[in-house]
Amino acid sequence: MRRALGLAWVVPALALVGVFVYLPLVQNFGFSTLKWDIYSGGQEFVGLGNYLRLPRDPVFWTSLVNNVLYAAVSIVFQVFGALVLAALIESIRSDRWRRSLRAIYFIPSAISLTVAGLLFYFIYEPSIGPLNHALRAVGLGGLAEAWLGQESTAMGAIIAMSQWQGFGYSTLLFAVAIQRIPSEIYGAALIDGTGPVRRFFSVTVPLVREMTGLMTMVTISGGFQVFNEVMVMTSGGPDNSTQVLGTWLYRSGFVRNDFGYAAAIATVIFVITMAIAVGQLWVARRRRVEW
């Protein structure tokens, strides 16, 4: 009985997470089997009907491809790029410079994706945006585009903004991981006369591999949860070319009043992010890096 009283400590957290995080998740499966008009209140059971519509919906495939592209580009810049960058920064001897650079690169991650998205909306803007002006100024006017206004460049432009916004965050985390490598190991490598490039591949990379694994999982998961920047910059346009699963879910439910279908898309996001989370647990549980 006295032991049961101890539960009072965890009940508020359990109740909040249970009601607002887990319960909706379970309800979502139920909703995904309905044809559901939220305004008239009309509901009709359609079984797996909404799921069967998914493969026949071209925008669903566009969204999925965009999410994969997002995740893939982010791995290149925010995992591998960030690791190299962090190693470069940590090789600087001046502590002041190391700290300043890490902080400067992180600033875009501190501001909201809404501000960053709106900012790049203007940067890409054909008439006032500095990007096209700069291209013309250096004689590359032929490359000037209506970046967000055409299908061929819009998704790339959004992804590029997102790299600008996010690389400093992962660089900072890799820098922390590199700092945790005992200095004797680097000292030994120096005495052996190992050059900086070999030192990177034979000391840094293996000793931060746990962080690399975790960052990869976090980055992929983030790639499938993209929403804010797409809504702010293009709302999924032009002609649905920049839809991602999150925005297509939103549009299907809240704009086209097709909430059952939106719930089915949510299930797809759930399955993908859950698989990644399990992978992340697996990476974290593997034997820790030991020195």
Binding site: T114, Y169, E210, T273
Partner: protein, 278 residues
């Protein structure tokens, strides 16, 4: 070491510095451009994008402030402060229960709370809207307070729990000798000892709430309940032709979190790195 750098080493160093500085410019210039555009007139904005404003007047900043930004900012501050308090306390209680109290089904409770970390908010969106409509809380301050608390409890509990586990057992024993009950021990001894991690979680929660968009956009509409990230998009659609005012609003929204980061950098970095791989 410098003496051991050969000619190639010097060239490599020079390239590295050129790259690092160039990257810093790529990061900082757009932000500077944003703040500067808040000082320009519309005509100037459509001129040379690289020019400085002719007249440094805060007129656009004042306009943005009066056209809704002051309301959005107030709501953001209110939601941020209240949800920080609820999230940190509920999480600290849970962390205490999970680490210092022998509760039944401890492992299961722990897994249930921390498991929430793995779930994407988008997945819960449709049922949550229906739930909040049924409760009459849709389009209210309470919706954001509840959602920001519930969805951040797993992460916050995870961080505080990892810190509390490492506090020595003798602390609790000393408290018991003094005759202090669990409640007193938590407030007087354990919580003060957790100050470093509490500071980190508070800062990370502020960054999250200040910038959150998905819930804010779906669960609120209309001035009075909109936070800055959503309010800015309203400002954009309402005054889309007066770009300098929009730039001023964006700068006002960005400034507090940039300042917070520079003031609390150490705590934020610690929270982030513990949060990803402890």
């Amino acid at each position: 070491m410098v003496t051991r750098l050969g000619f190639l080493g010097v060239i490599a160093r020079a390239f590295m510095w050129a790259f690092l500085i160039a990257l810093a410019v790529v990061v900082l210039y757009p932000l500077l451009w944003m703040a500067l555009n808040g000082f320009k007139t519309n005509a100037e904005l459509f001129g040379d994008p690289f020019a400085l404003p002719a007249d440094w007047s805060f007129e656009n900043y004042a306009k943005a402030w009066n056209r809704g930004v002051s309301d959005y900012l107030t709501t953001s501050v209110l939601v941020t402060v209240t949800s920080t308090i609820t999230t940190v306390f509920v999480s600290a209680w849970a962390a205490y229960g999970l680490t210092r109290v022998n509760i039944p089904f401890g492992k299961g409770v722990s897994a249930a709370i921390l498991g929430g970390l793995m779930l994407a908010p988008t997945v819960a969106l449709v049922p949550l809207v229906k739930m909040f409509q049924a409760m009459g809380l849709y389009n209210s301050f309470w919706a954001l307070l509840i959602l920001y608390t519930a969805f951040r409890i797993p992460f916050t509990t995870f961080l505080i729990r990892a810190y509390m586990i490492d506090l020595p057992r003798e602390v609790d024993e000393a408290a018991e000798v003094d005759g202090a009950g669990r409640w007193t021990a938590f407030w007087r001894i354990i919580l003060p000892m957790c100050k470093p991690i509490i500071t980190s979680t508070v800062m990370l929660h502020i960054l999250f709430t200040w910038n959150e968009y998905l819930f804010a956009m779906v669960f609120t509409s209309g001035t009075g309940v909109q936070t800055l990230p959503v309010g800015l998009t309203s400002l954009m659609s309402k005054h889309g032709t007066e770009f300098p005012v929009v730039f001023a609003g964006m700068s006002i929204a960005a400034l507090p979190v940039v300042l917070l980061f520079f003031l609390g950098q150490r705590h934020i970095v610690k929270g982030l790195s513990d949060g990803i791989g402890k």
